[in-house]
Structures are given as structure tokens and as C-alpha cells.
Amino acid sequence: MSRIILINLIRFVVLVSLQVFLLKNITLYDLATPYTYIMFILLLPFEIPNFLLFALAFILGLTIDAFYDTPGLHAAACVLLAFVRVLFINITVQKDGFDNEPEPTLSVMGFRWFFAYVLILTLIHHFFLFNLEVFRLSEIQYTLSRFVLSSVFTVFLIVISGLLFFRKKER
């Protein structure tokens, strides 16, 4: 139990500092900006109580907001992400029959499930985030292209890191 808390704490710090110190400065072709910090919410254990999940999502969002000067923007998107995560897991995973509190990682759940999970949640998070940030319909074309390309970038990074860090346990 304490091991899980420690791992998630480290993951939080690493992902947030990666986001605000490195990825914040990266923009491909003025369009694609990755937000890989959402991996923290994606990888929380299945058995986490809902309240804790939402509170953590909110805190994570606020932490990112503090560095991006946008109080509430990322927090709102992260809370939505947490809600979609609950729905997605309720639909696709059978809750009982888990031993030793697994996490929704690539090695536990297999590539196909993990990819669908990351793709759908990232798309919803990014769509909400970009539209809330711009908050007008007149630039919808540009916002949508930013949303699609950024999502591809984020999913790519998350899947790559999934393959890097969670593949080993399988062997």
C-alpha cells in the first residue's frame, strides 16, 4: 500500500516537472503541444476511491495551472478526465477478481485495451481543454486542428512511455 503511494507521489512530481519545465516549451509547427501530465490520472490504481481520484485530479490540474497562469483551466479538464475514467473503467473492466491492487498499465491490461483507454481519455481531455482555453467558435477550425494534432502527440508520448516502463514485468 505504502509502495503504491510512494510510486504515485514520485510519478506526480516527475510528470509535473516534465510538463512545466520541458514540454511547456515544445510546440510542433505552431500546432501540437503535448500534455502528458494526464498520465498521472490514467495510471492511478483501479481500486482508488472516487473522492480521492477527483481530489487528486483537481490538485494536479491546479498545480499545472499555477505554472501556466491559468487558474481553473487545467483543473476543469482534469476533473472531466477523472469522470470519464470512472465511466470507461466501469464499462470495460470487471471490478471483482483483482488481487494485489493492480494499476491500469500496459503490462497488466494488454496493448489493445491500454491504447483505447489512452486514446479516448486524451481526446476528451484535449477537446475540452482547447475549447475552454479559446472559448469562442470563430476560430473553431484552428482550435480543432490544434486539438487533433496535440492529441496525437500526447497519445504517442504516453504509449511510448508505457512501452518503455511497463513492458519489462511481462517477461
Partner: protein
């Protein structure tokens, strides 16, 4: 009661979602005036029709009071008419406005945080209210316009960079003094801006300089950029043109905050005709 509790605990995810989402949206709306403005207008569209009907009825109840206050307002405005002053006041004004009266004061500051790759970019500098910086002051650098102070703390100030979707600066073409509005096209290109609403009879040329006009927060003649493309989107009745920005925002280091000593006076003067219209 028990059923209600069971219902809430069964769908706790949804209720938690609603609570946290509202909390974050409140934060967002309180901080960002742009979202606030749009949100309030759209909510007015929904409730506007009802409110108009209600106010039409309630207006009759307060007619007497409104008449009294209008009469008072009239008297006050009459007192402020130029014709009710002795000519001496005018003479004093001209003395006050000589070239020797310093209007702009500059405070140097160092940029400590900056971004150029987002839809709304902000800059933080190491001077704050302690050094006399306040909201709505302009910020420039040696090569051109930088932005607008939006928030200050004791030692720091947050600047809305010119590379911000909400930027609107009154600008003019340097040679023929034609006025337009400078905005940043939201193409995330930190080197390109847009000059909008220039009147149609002007024939601008490529490479002409665009500077701030005297109507902006900034001193007149601060460079903004050079015209790079005459055929920007959606011309309509006015000319729109793309600019190459004069400042390289990614390399900002030192900036000057412009303190307009006459800003309060100007705001006072401009508030009067507005009041007139409201009544």
C-alpha cells in the same frame, strides 16, 4: 432521506464530478475576464427576454425617484459645462499642458518568466506595486510594444503579452497616420500580427512601419511592426494586413513599464461623456 443518501452514494462519481468541475470553473471565470464577459453575455441571451419584461413593469414604480435623480444629474452636468466657467480656467489648462510637463515616466524591469507558444501568453517581471506599477499600464522595450500590466503583487507584475488572443492596441501606419487596431492572429506564430480596420481609401505599401497611435496606453510612435502581407483574411469594408512584429518576444530580457501621469485625468475626462449616454 435514506433513499436520497443511497441515490447520492450510488452515483457519487457524478456528484463529485459536478462539485469539482464547478469549483474549477469558478476559479477560471474569476481570474479570466475574457471568459467572464462571454459567459455573462450568453447567459443574458437566455434570461434577457424575461428580465426585460420584469424591468418594464418595475420601471413604473420608481418613475418619481428616477425623475428626481435625473434632474440632479442635469444640474450637475450643467455645472460642468464649459460655458458655466469663467474663461480663466481655460488659460490655466494651457499652462498645465506645456511640453515641459512630463507625461510619461519609464521604470526598467527584468523579465523573469515568459512564453510565446500558447494562445494567451503572459510575462512576469520583477517590479511590482512597491515600485509604482499598477494595473493597465503599458509595457515596452527598446524595439517596440510588449504588453499590458494585468496584475501586480508587491514585488512582481504579470503582463498580458502582445502575443495574446485578447490583445487590442490602437495602432497607425507611421507615414500617413491612418489608424487601425493591432491584434495577434491566433496562429501561434510569434513573429506575425494583424492590423485590422484600416479605412479602405488608404493605399498601404509592403514594408511600411506600423507604430502605436496617440490614442493607446502607450506613447505615440512606439514601433509594432512592418507590413508584410496586404491581403489578410475577411477584408469587408476595411483593410486587414499582416505585420512582421518588431519585437522578438522569445528573447525579451529588459522591458520598461510606462507610467502615464495623466492617465487618471484622461480617464476622468473620458468617463463624463459615457455617464451622459447612460442616463
Amino acid at each position: 432521506m435514506r433513499n436520497l443518501l443511497i441515490f447520492i452514494s450510488k452515483y457519487n462519481a457524478f456528484f463529485l464530478f459536478v462539485i469539482f468541475e464547478i469549483a474549477s470553473l469558478i476559479l477560471l471565470l474569476n481570474y479570466n475576464s475574457f471568459q467572464k464577459a462571454t459567459y455573462i453575455t450568453s447567459s443574458n441571451n437566455v434570461t434577457g427576454a424575461v428580465n426585460t419584461k420584469v424591468s418594464e413593469v418595475s420601471a413604473y414604480m420608481s418613475l418619481g425617484r428616477v425623475n428626481d435623480s435625473l434632474a440632479k444629474e442635469n444640474a450637475m452636468l450643467r455645472n460642468e459645462l464649459k460655458s458655466s466657467f469663467y474663461i480663466d480656467t481655460l488659460a490655466k489648462r494651457t499652462v498645465k499642458d506645456t511640453v515641459y510637463n512630463q507625461q510619461y515616466q519609464y521604470i526598467p524591469a527584468k523579465v523573469i518568466s515568459n512564453s510565446t507558444n500558447r494562445h494567451n501568453n503572459y510575462i512576469t517581471i520583477n517590479r511590482g506595486s512597491k515600485d509604482g506599477i499598477a494595473k493597465d499600464m503599458g509595457v515596452i522595450t527598446s524595439s517596440g510594444v510588449v504588453g499590458l500590466v494585468v496584475k501586480t503583487t508587491e514585488h512582481f507584475a504579470n503582463i498580458q503579452s502582445a502575443l495574446n488572443g485578447n490583445t487590442r492596441i490602437s495602432a497607425m501606419i507611421a507615414d500617413n497616420k491612418e489608424i487601425g487596431i493591432f491584434t495577434w492572429v491566433a496562429s501561434l506564430n510569434p513573429h506575425q500580427g494583424l492590423l485590422m480596420d484600416v479605412s479602405n481609401n488608404v493605399k498601404p505599401k509592403l514594408g511600411e512601419r506600423v507604430v502605436t497611435s496617440g490614442q493607446s496606453l502607450y506613447p505615440a510612435g512606439i514601433p509594432i511592426g512592418k507590413i508584410s502581407d496586404l491581403h489578410a483574411k475577411e477584408g469587408g469594408l476595411f483593410l486587414n494586413m499582416y505585420l512582421d512584429l518588431a519585437v522578438d518576444y522569445s528573447k525579451l530580457e529588459y522591458v520598461y513599464v510606462v507610467i502615464n501621469k495623466l492617465a487618471n485625468e484622461q480617464a476622468e475626462v473620458e468617463a463624463l461623456p459615457k455617464k451622459d449616454k447612460d442616463e
